[in-house]
Amino acid sequence: MNKIVKFYHEMGSPPSFYRITGHWLKPLLILALLLTVYGLIDGLFFAPPDYQQGDSYRIMFVHVPAAWMSMFIYFIIGVSGIIAFVWRMKVAEAVMMASAPIGALFTALTLLTGMLWGKPMWGTYWDWDARMTSELILLFLYIGVMGIYSAYDDDPRKAARLAALVAIIGLINLPIIRYSVEWWTSIHQGASISIMGGNSGIKEWSMLRPLLVMALATKFYYLYSMLHRARSYLLRTEQNKSWVSKQFIEN
């Protein structure tokens, strides 16, 4: 138990956060790359075609993990926003601001792959149904968080606190996205995988496998990219602190 508490405190201080996560970057990147390559090959070549959609459904192996990430990252931003706002923790600010562009990227990827999937399957690139609209709003929220931060570029601390406030307000969108397909009957299908073990979704292991692998790969990629950005964020905002200059002397 003591070890966990100690680890928690270490991760809260910028220098030890910087030092500890430095060791994680390379393994994370390698894991992310390997899993992506494996997942894509598995999904594109070895998974069986769908009984309805044939081969077109394979875009799901990018679309669904990206969609999960778009929401997962916003959740992380919201939580670290709360921590940054209430306890003014610098590392939380770094995690929040480092996550935002990655989340925006995954959201854009979700929308794009969704459109490419929608054209042949539904017959349209875009339909203003609740799921798509709320996902688009999620993209605007990411842009808002980054926008308010960059607007206050003369004072990063204040910028981060205001961005945290925007992120917390935006959390209200997450349940809307999640339940949009259930609350409004719309063209978008329901969840492919249900944690509660619903009666629908993907049952075939050979189809599920690449999806799960890709979900893991995107998580690792996010971790790698987020930590990488968070570290440089800390270097930038703490550039006058002694630990930063020590880092540069060591390298």
Partner: protein, 220 residues
């Protein structure tokens, strides 16, 4: 008493500068003339888009006035007067929002039938149009205080304010324009109006807190 004096002062300030009140309306009128000119279309097409256009115009003309809710007070220092008076900040925010609604939301509601006539909105929908705006314009003002508080010491914060506020206003637009549309189609707008009312209660509860938090951060 503090609530009323703040409300009264803001209404008085707006009243002294009447251009703030009528300019959004002129703006609406100008934009609405662009629609028939740009579409080159007859009454039927206009009628089709009328619910959405009236609503979007109400939204945009309010949006351009949001920036100054706190910015003016911040610049002339009177923000310090009420933040340091010991008055509860969320209550002050509600007073500011109420004053903003009285000076921009209310004129927009009263003016809405004029816009609706120009777009050939069926007469049956006028009541619901005004009702939906009556519930929704306070939401604009309330969420506007949040946006305005976030950008109050930025020089050009207007665009950023739109980016921050628009996603939150999207559901309001969907339900509001939806209510009007359903009425023109002969359906019941009750569901949409109820959702609007829910949005109003939610923003009345949370927006003052968020705006107060933003003011506090901005004053640090």
């Amino acid at each position: 008493m503090r609530f009323w004096i703040l409300l009264q002062r803001d209404v008085l300030v707006a009243w002294r500068k009447k251009s703030n009140i009528y300019q959004p309306l002129v703006f609406q009128l100008l934009i609405v003339t662009m629609f028939p000119l740009g579409l080159g279309a007859g009454a039927q097409t206009l009628q089709k888009i009328a619910p959405a256009v009236v609503w979007i115009l109400a939204l945009i003309s309010t949006l351009i006035t949001l920036e100054n809710i706190f910015k003016d007070d911040y610049e002339d220092g009177s923000l310090a007067l009420y933040t340091l008076s010991g008055m509860s900040l969320p209550v002050a925010v509600i007073a500011k929002a109420a004053a903003h609604w009285l000076t921009t939301g209310l004129p927009v509601i009263i003016f809405a039938p004029v816009i609706a006539v120009l777009l050939h909105l069926p007469a049956s929908a006028y009541g619901i149009l005004m009702l939906s705006l009556l519930i929704a314009t306070p939401i604009f003002s309330l969420l506007g205080t949040v946006g305005s508080a976030l950008i109050m010491n930025l020089k050009n914060g207007g665009m950023l304010l739109s980016v921050l506020i628009m996603p939150l206003l999207a559901p309001v637009l969907i339900f509001g324009a939806g209510a009007v549309l359903e009425t023109t189609l002969g359906n019941t707008p009750v569901g949409h109006i109820t959702l609007l009312a829910g949005c109003f209660v939610l923003s009345l509860t949370l927006a003052p807190l968020a705006a107060a938090a933003a003011i506090k951060v901005n004053l640090e």
